[in-house]
């Protein structure tokens, strides 16, 4: 229950920051700051994926309802990420490398592998988001350019926020 409260608190804070700050930054067509993806990456490595999907659904739904634009885009991307996140952790983990209780981070994964993990997660989220948003392959190259430029921005933002606010000080 204690953990649930912690996650819920995170849910509210990250949602608030996204809605009050990042939704108002108009950086042009090619840059859409979405550091809220970090929310799903902060759950422990062994957190069941069905619960991750539910968290993702709730968070995406909240974001979709409270921001302007087409409802369902954030929800679809976060549910997809929630479903595949644990698989990606298994993919980059070396067997017996870290215990199941650890939280993904620089310390537990190492800098290179954690960056790779964030990169893969954000890429998956963006693939769903930008393709659903344009909903056609008519503007394929443009969609790809938007995806890649936002990807670079968001990976950077997420690594920065993770390092600054969510690394346990010892």
């Amino acid at each position: 229950m204690n953990d649930f409260l912690k996650y819920f608190f995170r849910f509210v804070v990250i949602m608030a920051v996204q809605l009050l700050l990042f939704e108002h930054l108009n950086l042009g067509t090619y840059l859409y700051p979405m550091p809220y993806i970090l929310f799903l990456l902060l759950f422990p490595s062994a957190y069941p994926s069905w619960q991750l999907m539910l968290w993702g659904f709730a968070f995406g739904m909240g974001l979709d309802v409270l921001s302007t634009g087409i409802t369902g885009l954030h929800t679809a991307s976060l549910v997809m990420l929630g479903a595949l996140r644990n698989g990606m952790i298994k993919l980059i983990a070396v067997k017996g490398d870290f215990d199941d209780l650890s939280v993904p981070g620089f310390r537990s994964f190492g800098f290179a592998r954690f960056t790779l993990f964030v990169l893969m997660s954000v890429a998956l989220h963006h693939l769903v988001y930008f393709n659903l948003e344009s909903f056609s392959f008519y503007l394929f190259w443009q969609t790809l350019a938007r995806l890649v430029s936002s990807l670079i921005l968001n990976v950077f933002l997420i690594l920065l926020f993770k390092r600054t606010f969510f690394e346990h000080r010892r």
């Binding site: 067509t29 999907m53 659904f57 309802v65 409270l66 634009g69 087409i70 948003e133 503007l139």
Partner: protein
């Protein structure tokens, strides 16, 4: 915790995934930009108040630029008044013949309290609603071009589909020749849109002004939108012109909602015609 086989568990997780993803897709397909149900309106009302506060700050910091624009517009309007005033009688021009302008447009000034330019489907929220006489499908203009169309109206606020929305089409024409075409945004650059379906034989030079069309029901004719930057032949049949907008959507703070007396009547007329054709 749960005493079930791993296979069944996997299937259940897959099922949950499909259900949640289907829920999201249904939301996207229904495409409810501004859902009308009570909970959302409740949230929106609070949220809009916040946007309003925020935008009033932004507007405050931009007062200088806004002032300059207002002065320019005042100047333009004064010139218009001077042109329309009969120099002999000093009264404003009143035509009694059939050439008289039957259609009358009236304008409702409003302030933009939410705007975006970085999506594929951009929207604005303004601080005027049904109590100020706004209705769905009214046009929205600024002093430097057309902005969009009212899509939803609540009591005190209205949501506008921006010109910068890839799903929205407008009619516009070339000022010089009067040739009309379809104005649409391709979702790339918020400073330029495309005017397509212009016949090949029309002579076009770079810098030609694009204005709102006479055939448009939502905008008064002749409002300057932008100028032609370049053009290319599409599918060997029609010209597609790249139009640079006069309006900078990023620094948009004040707009006018256009109310057109005849719009409803004309729409009914064409709809009746279409029904008969069927």
């Amino acid at each position: 915790m749960f005493n079930i086989s791993p296979l069944l568990r996997k299937l259940l997780v897959l099922l949950l995934f499909l259900v949640l993803q289907a829920g999201a897709i249904v939301m996207i397909v229904n495409n409810s930009y501004f859902q009308q149900n009570a909970i959302l309106n409740f949230i929106r009302a609070r949220q809009i108040r916040w946007w309003e506060k925020q935008s009033s700050w932004v507007a405050f910091t931009n007062l200088k630029e806004t002032n300059r624009q207002l002065a320019l517009e005042n100047n333009r309007l004064l010139n218009e008044v001077a042109r329309l005033t009969d120099p002999l009688t000093g009264k404003s021009l009143q035509t009694k013949d059939s050439v008289a302008l039957r259609d009358s447009f009236s304008y409702i000034p409003a302030r933009v309290i939410k705007n975006s330019v970085n999506r594929q489907h951009n929207f604005l929220v303004i601080d005027k609603g049904s109590q100020d006489g706004l209705e769905q499908d009214m046009g929205v203009i600024s002093s430097r071009g057309i902005i969009g169309v009212v899509s939803h109206v609540s009591e005190r606020y209205a949501m506008i589909i921006s010109l910068l929305n890839t799903q929205q089409r407008f009619t516009a024409e070339l000022k010089k020749s009067g040739t009309f075409g379809t104005l649409r945004w391709d979702g790339v650059d918020y400073r330029r849109v495309f005017l397509s379906e212009i016949p090949q034989h029309i002579e076009i030079s770079v810098g030609d002004t694009v204005v709102s069309s006479v055939f448009s029901l939502v905008f008064p004719p002749g409002i300057p939108i932008g100028f032609v930057k370049s053009g290319s032949l599409k599918r060997g049949t029609f010209l597609e012109l790249e139009v640079e907008l006069f309006e900078d959507f990023k620094s948009l703070h004040y707009v006018n909602v256009v109310s057109h007396d005849g719009a409803v009547e004309i729409r009914q007329l064409t709809e009746n015609q279409q029904e008969e054709d069927l």
